[in-house]
């Protein structure tokens, strides 16, 4: 595989990964938030804990 082809492939997968993240992150946030109490839900949105089911 030539370096040019490799860089194009990496670029394509990065773009597809970003698009996939745009569609998946809100759904993960929704599922994870449904498992948390309200106060924890609102306080967790400022960090990565918003997407993690921690503190159950």
């Amino acid at each position: 595989m030539t370096p040019e082809r490799a860089s194009r492939l990496i670029g394509r997968y990065l773009l597809l990964g970003f698009i996939a993240a745009v569609f998946v992150i809100p759904i993960v946030f929704m599922v994870v938030s449904s498992l948390k109490p309200d106060l924890q839900l609102l306080s967790d949105t400022n960090s990565i804990r918003a997407l993690l089911p921690v503190g159950i």
Binding site: F23, V24, I25, P26, I27, F29, M30, L42, T45, N46
Partner: protein
């Protein structure tokens, strides 16, 4: 996947995401820009409320239309692509002269469906902004419901619904006429 979720649920979810003080979107943008992008009240500003609702509606509906385009792409004969390759067509020329003409009927269907759906914009506004801020996110259906149920002006709401029907019908017929087969 967002297509299978009810629009009301999606609107409530994105109301949390768009929140001006504790919203997930502001947190992500702040973290990605290392604090350069300050939090924005997406649904509280007249300049960002309607684009925010549009982005959310596109996020929810793109999967449905993706399936329609995909099925349209699969109806294009591969022999046409082979002929284009033999003739030495570039990727843009192949798209312009093989793919896009082959997707003509699919494009007409999607255009008519999208236009009709756009006129029925209601759940997003009712859940997220209630027509505000400062009437920047008003829609015909929301006005109709607000007038008919909110202000108890049943006659006014009915009038709006009749005009909506005539508007959607005339635009759909115009689109159908503009996209007719020209022999």
């Amino acid at each position: 996947m967002p297509v299978v979720i009810s629009m009301v649920v999606v609107a409530m979810l994105w109301r949390f995401i768009y929140d001006g003080s504790d919203g997930l979107l502001n947190s992500i943008l702040g973290a990605a820009s290392f604090g350069l992008i300050s939090p924005v009240d997406w649904l509280g500003k007249t300049s960002t409320a309607l684009p925010a609702i549009m982005a959310m509606s596109i996020w929810q509906g793109v999967g449905f239309h993706m399936i329609i385009w995909l099925s349209g792409l699969q109806t294009i004969p591969t022999s046409l692509y082979e002929a284009a390759r033999v003739e030495g067509a570039s990727r843009w020329q192949t798209f312009r002269f093989v793919t896009w003409p082959g997707l003509r009927n699919t494009a007409i269907l999607v255009m008519i469906i999208i236009t009709m759906q756009s006129f029925t914009l209601f759940p997003q506004i009712a859940v997220m902004t209630k027509g505000g801020p400062l009437d920047s996110t008003q829609s015909i259906v929301f006005q109709m419901v607000e007038r008919g149920y909110g202000k108890q002006d049943i006659a006014g709401g009915s009038t709006i619904s009749v005009f909506l029907f005539l508007l959607v019908l005339s635009i759909s017929m115009l689109q159908r006429w503009l996209t007719r087969e020209k022999i």
